[in-house]
Protein backbone atom coordinates (compact mmCIF):
# COMPACT_ATOMS: atom_id res chain seq x y z
CA UNK A 1 0.00 0.00 0.00
CA UNK A 2 1.33 3.40 -1.00
CA UNK A 3 0.39 5.19 2.24
CA UNK A 4 1.56 2.51 4.71
CA UNK A 5 3.69 5.08 6.57
CA UNK A 6 0.76 7.33 7.48
CA UNK A 7 -1.56 4.55 8.66
CA UNK A 8 -0.32 4.22 12.26
CA UNK A 9 -0.05 8.01 12.91
CA UNK A 10 -3.55 8.56 11.49
CA UNK A 11 -4.94 5.74 13.65
CA UNK A 12 -3.30 7.16 16.78
CA UNK A 13 -4.51 10.68 15.97
CA UNK A 14 -8.03 9.36 15.36
CA UNK A 15 -8.18 7.54 18.71
CA UNK A 16 -6.72 10.50 20.63
CA UNK A 17 -8.94 13.06 18.93
CA UNK A 18 -12.03 10.90 19.48
CA UNK A 19 -11.23 10.82 23.21
CA UNK A 20 -10.98 14.62 23.05
CA UNK A 21 -14.33 14.80 21.24
CA UNK A 22 -15.98 12.86 24.09
CA UNK A 23 -14.62 15.42 26.56
CA UNK A 24 -15.72 18.26 24.31
CA UNK A 25 -19.25 16.92 23.85
CA UNK A 26 -19.87 16.02 27.50
CA UNK A 27 -17.74 18.45 29.51
CA UNK A 28 -16.64 21.50 27.51
CA UNK A 29 -19.66 22.23 25.29
CA UNK A 30 -22.53 24.05 26.97
CA UNK A 31 -26.11 22.83 26.43
CA UNK A 32 -27.54 23.96 23.09
CA UNK A 33 -30.21 26.59 23.58
CA UNK A 34 -33.65 25.70 22.32
CA UNK A 35 -33.29 21.93 22.58
CA UNK A 36 -35.45 20.13 25.09
CA UNK A 37 -33.36 17.02 25.70
CA UNK A 38 -30.62 17.36 28.29
CA UNK A 39 -28.61 14.20 27.63
CA UNK A 40 -29.50 13.13 24.10
CA UNK A 41 -28.66 16.51 22.55
CA UNK A 42 -24.97 15.61 23.04
CA UNK A 43 -25.35 13.23 20.10
CA UNK A 44 -25.31 16.41 17.95
CA UNK A 45 -21.47 16.27 18.01
CA UNK A 46 -21.54 12.72 16.60
CA UNK A 47 -24.70 12.57 14.46
CA UNK A 48 -23.82 15.45 12.10
CA UNK A 49 -20.11 14.57 11.66
CA UNK A 50 -20.93 10.88 11.07
CA UNK A 51 -23.41 11.80 8.33
CA UNK A 52 -20.87 14.14 6.70
CA UNK A 53 -18.13 11.47 6.95
CA UNK A 54 -20.55 9.07 5.19
CA UNK A 55 -21.00 11.55 2.34
CA UNK A 56 -17.22 11.97 2.04
CA UNK A 57 -16.74 8.18 2.06
CA UNK A 58 -19.20 7.71 -0.80
CA UNK A 59 -17.40 10.53 -2.62
CA UNK A 60 -14.18 8.50 -2.38
CA UNK A 61 -16.13 5.48 -3.68
CA UNK A 62 -17.29 7.58 -6.64
CA UNK A 63 -13.71 8.64 -7.34
CA UNK A 64 -12.37 5.08 -7.10
CA UNK A 65 -15.18 3.77 -9.30
CA UNK A 66 -14.60 6.38 -12.02
CA UNK A 67 -10.85 5.74 -11.95
CA UNK A 68 -11.44 1.99 -12.19
CA UNK A 69 -13.68 2.33 -15.25
CA UNK A 70 -11.12 4.65 -16.89
CA UNK A 71 -7.94 2.69 -16.08
CA UNK A 72 -9.14 -0.82 -15.12
CA UNK A 73 -6.68 -1.03 -12.22
CA UNK A 74 -7.94 -3.37 -9.45
CA UNK A 75 -6.37 -1.04 -6.85
CA UNK A 76 -8.94 1.65 -7.64
CA UNK A 77 -11.76 -0.85 -7.16
CA UNK A 78 -10.32 -1.77 -3.76
CA UNK A 79 -10.26 1.91 -2.77
CA UNK A 80 -13.91 2.28 -3.83
CA UNK A 81 -15.01 -0.84 -1.94
CA UNK A 82 -13.06 -0.01 1.24
CA UNK A 83 -14.49 3.49 1.37
CA UNK A 84 -18.05 2.27 0.70
CA UNK A 85 -17.82 -0.12 3.65
CA UNK A 86 -16.70 2.63 6.04
CA UNK A 87 -19.33 4.92 4.51
CA UNK A 88 -22.07 2.44 5.37
CA UNK A 89 -20.86 2.35 8.99
CA UNK A 90 -20.83 6.17 9.18
CA UNK A 91 -24.25 6.48 7.52
CA UNK A 92 -25.68 3.83 9.88
CA UNK A 93 -24.52 5.95 12.82
CA UNK A 94 -25.76 9.21 11.29
CA UNK A 95 -29.15 7.84 10.26
CA UNK A 96 -30.11 5.90 13.37
CA UNK A 97 -28.77 8.36 15.95
CA UNK A 98 -30.78 11.02 14.08
CA UNK A 99 -33.95 8.96 14.28
CA UNK A 100 -33.52 8.34 18.02
CA UNK A 101 -32.66 11.97 18.72
CA UNK A 102 -35.57 13.36 16.71
CA UNK A 103 -37.91 10.99 18.55
CA UNK A 104 -37.03 12.50 21.93
CA UNK A 105 -36.40 16.05 20.74
CA UNK A 106 -39.28 16.74 18.38
CA UNK A 107 -41.77 13.91 18.88
CA UNK A 108 -41.84 13.33 22.61
CA UNK A 109 -45.14 12.27 24.15
CA UNK A 110 -46.05 15.90 24.79
CA UNK A 111 -45.15 17.18 21.32
CA UNK A 112 -46.49 14.63 18.84
CA UNK A 113 -49.50 16.77 18.08
CA UNK A 114 -51.47 13.61 17.45
CA UNK A 115 -49.10 12.46 14.70
CA UNK A 116 -47.65 8.99 14.71
CA UNK A 117 -43.82 9.09 14.86
CA UNK A 118 -43.44 6.28 12.29
CA UNK A 119 -45.68 8.19 9.88
CA UNK A 120 -43.65 11.37 10.36
CA UNK A 121 -40.39 9.48 9.74
CA UNK A 122 -41.68 7.78 6.61
CA UNK A 123 -42.85 11.08 5.16
CA UNK A 124 -39.78 13.08 6.11
CA UNK A 125 -37.64 13.69 2.98
CA UNK A 126 -34.35 13.79 4.90
CA UNK A 127 -34.96 10.44 6.62
CA UNK A 128 -36.27 8.75 3.48
CA UNK A 129 -33.46 9.91 1.17
CA UNK A 130 -30.77 9.09 3.76
CA UNK A 131 -32.30 5.64 4.28
CA UNK A 132 -32.28 5.23 0.49
CA UNK A 133 -28.58 6.18 0.43
CA UNK A 134 -27.85 3.69 3.22
CA UNK A 135 -29.75 0.88 1.48
CA UNK A 136 -28.08 1.71 -1.86
CA UNK A 137 -24.62 1.17 -0.46
CA UNK A 138 -25.71 -1.91 1.51
CA UNK A 139 -26.82 -3.22 -1.89
CA UNK A 140 -23.40 -2.23 -3.27
CA UNK A 141 -21.72 -4.41 -0.61
CA UNK A 142 -24.18 -7.26 -1.30
CA UNK A 143 -23.41 -7.00 -5.02
CA UNK A 144 -19.71 -7.37 -4.25
CA UNK A 145 -20.41 -10.51 -2.28
CA UNK A 146 -22.51 -11.99 -5.06
CA UNK A 147 -19.98 -11.48 -7.86
CA UNK A 148 -16.25 -12.00 -8.38
CA UNK A 149 -13.23 -10.95 -10.41
CA UNK A 150 -13.33 -8.33 -13.14
CA UNK A 151 -17.15 -8.38 -13.54
CA UNK A 152 -17.47 -7.60 -9.83
CA UNK A 153 -15.15 -4.61 -10.14
CA UNK A 154 -16.88 -3.36 -13.30
CA UNK A 155 -20.44 -3.84 -12.01
CA UNK A 156 -19.76 -2.36 -8.61
CA UNK A 157 -17.98 0.63 -10.18
CA UNK A 158 -21.08 1.41 -12.24
CA UNK A 159 -23.24 0.81 -9.16
CA UNK A 160 -20.98 3.03 -7.04
CA UNK A 161 -21.22 5.91 -9.53
CA UNK A 162 -25.02 5.66 -9.83
CA UNK A 163 -25.37 5.12 -6.09
CA UNK A 164 -23.52 8.36 -5.40
CA UNK A 165 -26.51 10.21 -6.87
CA UNK A 166 -28.26 9.50 -3.56
CA UNK A 167 -25.68 11.66 -1.72
CA UNK A 168 -26.79 15.08 -3.10
CA UNK A 169 -30.39 13.91 -2.78
CA UNK A 170 -29.88 13.16 0.92
CA UNK A 171 -27.86 16.34 1.50
CA UNK A 172 -30.29 18.70 -0.22
CA UNK A 173 -33.51 17.01 0.89
CA UNK A 174 -33.45 18.90 4.19
CA UNK A 175 -34.67 21.93 2.21
CA UNK A 176 -38.04 20.15 2.10
CA UNK A 177 -37.78 18.66 5.58
CA UNK A 178 -38.14 19.65 9.22
CA UNK A 179 -34.42 18.82 9.45
CA UNK A 180 -32.10 21.85 9.70
CA UNK A 181 -31.07 23.03 6.19
CA UNK A 182 -27.75 21.88 4.69
CA UNK A 183 -26.08 25.26 5.22
CA UNK A 184 -27.30 25.77 8.79
CA UNK A 185 -23.75 25.45 10.11
CA UNK A 186 -22.82 28.55 8.14
CA UNK A 187 -25.79 30.67 9.15
CA UNK A 188 -24.88 33.71 11.28
CA UNK A 189 -27.66 32.80 13.73
CA UNK A 190 -25.68 29.79 14.88
CA UNK A 191 -23.63 30.43 18.00
CA UNK A 192 -19.98 30.86 16.82
CA UNK A 193 -18.78 28.72 19.72
CA UNK A 194 -21.17 25.95 18.70
CA UNK A 195 -19.98 26.27 15.12
CA UNK A 196 -16.36 25.90 16.27
CA UNK A 197 -17.20 22.82 18.35
CA UNK A 198 -19.09 21.27 15.46
CA UNK A 199 -16.18 22.04 13.12
CA UNK A 200 -13.83 20.27 15.55
CA UNK A 201 -16.20 17.29 15.76
CA UNK A 202 -16.31 17.07 11.96
CA UNK A 203 -12.50 17.14 11.79
CA UNK A 204 -12.38 14.30 14.34
CA UNK A 205 -14.86 12.19 12.38
CA UNK A 206 -13.00 12.78 9.11
CA UNK A 207 -9.88 11.58 10.89
CA UNK A 208 -11.74 8.50 12.17
CA UNK A 209 -13.00 7.86 8.63
CA UNK A 210 -9.44 8.21 7.28
CA UNK A 211 -8.09 5.77 9.89
CA UNK A 212 -10.78 3.14 9.25
CA UNK A 213 -10.50 3.56 5.49
CA UNK A 214 -6.70 3.23 5.47
CA UNK A 215 -6.96 0.11 7.65
CA UNK A 216 -9.64 -1.45 5.43
CA UNK A 217 -7.72 -0.54 2.27
CA UNK A 218 -4.53 -2.10 3.66
CA UNK A 219 -6.43 -5.30 4.51
CA UNK A 220 -8.00 -5.36 1.05
CA UNK A 221 -4.53 -5.19 -0.48
CA UNK A 222 -3.17 -7.88 1.86
CA UNK A 223 -6.08 -10.20 1.16
CA UNK A 224 -5.82 -9.68 -2.58
CA UNK A 225 -4.58 -13.23 -3.07
CA UNK A 226 -7.73 -14.47 -1.29
CA UNK A 227 -10.49 -12.22 -2.60
CA UNK A 228 -13.25 -14.03 -0.73
CA UNK A 229 -11.62 -12.91 2.55
CA UNK A 230 -11.50 -9.31 1.43
CA UNK A 231 -15.23 -9.05 0.95
CA UNK A 232 -17.25 -7.04 3.40
CA UNK A 233 -18.98 -9.01 6.13
CA UNK A 234 -17.49 -12.31 4.91
CA UNK A 235 -18.74 -15.15 7.09
CA UNK A 236 -16.46 -17.71 8.71
CA UNK A 237 -18.46 -20.58 7.25
CA UNK A 238 -18.71 -19.20 3.74
CA UNK A 239 -15.49 -20.81 2.57
Amino acid sequence: MRYEGVRAPVLLAAVASFAFLLVLAFVIAPPIAGLSSVLTQRIFYFHVPAAVAGYVAFGVTLLGSVLYLLRREPGHDRIAASSAEVGVVMTTIGLFTGIVWSRVEFFSASATGGQDFAFVLLTDPKTVTTAALWLTFLAYLALRRATAGEPRARLSSVFGILGFLAVPLSYLSSVFSAHPPPDFVLTPQLNPLLRAYLGAAMAVFLLVFAALFLERWRLAERLEAHPQDAEPFAREGSR
Binding site: P31, L39, I43, L212, L223
Partner: protein, 47 residues
Protein backbone atom coordinates in the same frame (compact mmCIF):
# COMPACT_ATOMS: atom_id res chain seq x y z
CA UNK B 1 -34.25 25.14 28.70
CA UNK B 2 -35.22 22.77 31.45
CA UNK B 3 -32.32 20.91 33.06
CA UNK B 4 -34.62 18.07 34.00
CA UNK B 5 -33.65 14.65 32.61
CA UNK B 6 -36.75 12.68 31.65
CA UNK B 7 -36.91 8.91 31.40
CA UNK B 8 -37.46 9.26 27.66
CA UNK B 9 -34.35 11.44 27.36
CA UNK B 10 -32.24 8.99 29.36
CA UNK B 11 -33.48 6.02 27.30
CA UNK B 12 -32.83 7.84 24.00
CA UNK B 13 -29.36 8.81 25.24
CA UNK B 14 -28.49 5.18 25.96
CA UNK B 15 -29.85 4.00 22.59
CA UNK B 16 -28.20 6.79 20.56
CA UNK B 17 -24.77 6.37 22.16
CA UNK B 18 -25.24 2.60 22.00
CA UNK B 19 -25.64 2.91 18.24
CA UNK B 20 -22.50 5.06 18.05
CA UNK B 21 -20.44 2.65 20.18
CA UNK B 22 -21.78 -0.46 18.44
CA UNK B 23 -21.07 1.05 15.02
CA UNK B 24 -17.49 2.09 15.70
CA UNK B 25 -16.45 -0.77 18.01
CA UNK B 26 -18.27 -3.37 15.91
CA UNK B 27 -16.50 -2.22 12.77
CA UNK B 28 -13.13 -2.10 14.56
CA UNK B 29 -13.75 -5.69 15.66
CA UNK B 30 -14.61 -6.65 12.05
CA UNK B 31 -11.30 -5.12 10.86
CA UNK B 32 -9.40 -6.87 13.64
CA UNK B 33 -10.85 -10.24 12.57
CA UNK B 34 -9.97 -9.54 8.92
CA UNK B 35 -6.46 -8.59 10.00
CA UNK B 36 -6.05 -11.81 11.96
CA UNK B 37 -7.24 -13.81 8.95
CA UNK B 38 -4.81 -11.94 6.71
CA UNK B 39 -2.00 -12.68 9.17
CA UNK B 40 -2.89 -16.37 9.23
CA UNK B 41 -2.85 -16.47 5.42
CA UNK B 42 0.56 -14.80 5.35
CA UNK B 43 1.94 -17.32 7.86
CA UNK B 44 0.58 -20.24 5.81
CA UNK B 45 2.19 -18.88 2.67
CA UNK B 46 5.49 -18.38 4.53
CA UNK B 47 5.70 -22.06 5.59
Amino acid sequence: MSAHVTTEDAAAFVVAFGILAAGLLGYAWHLWRLGRRAGARSNQKGK
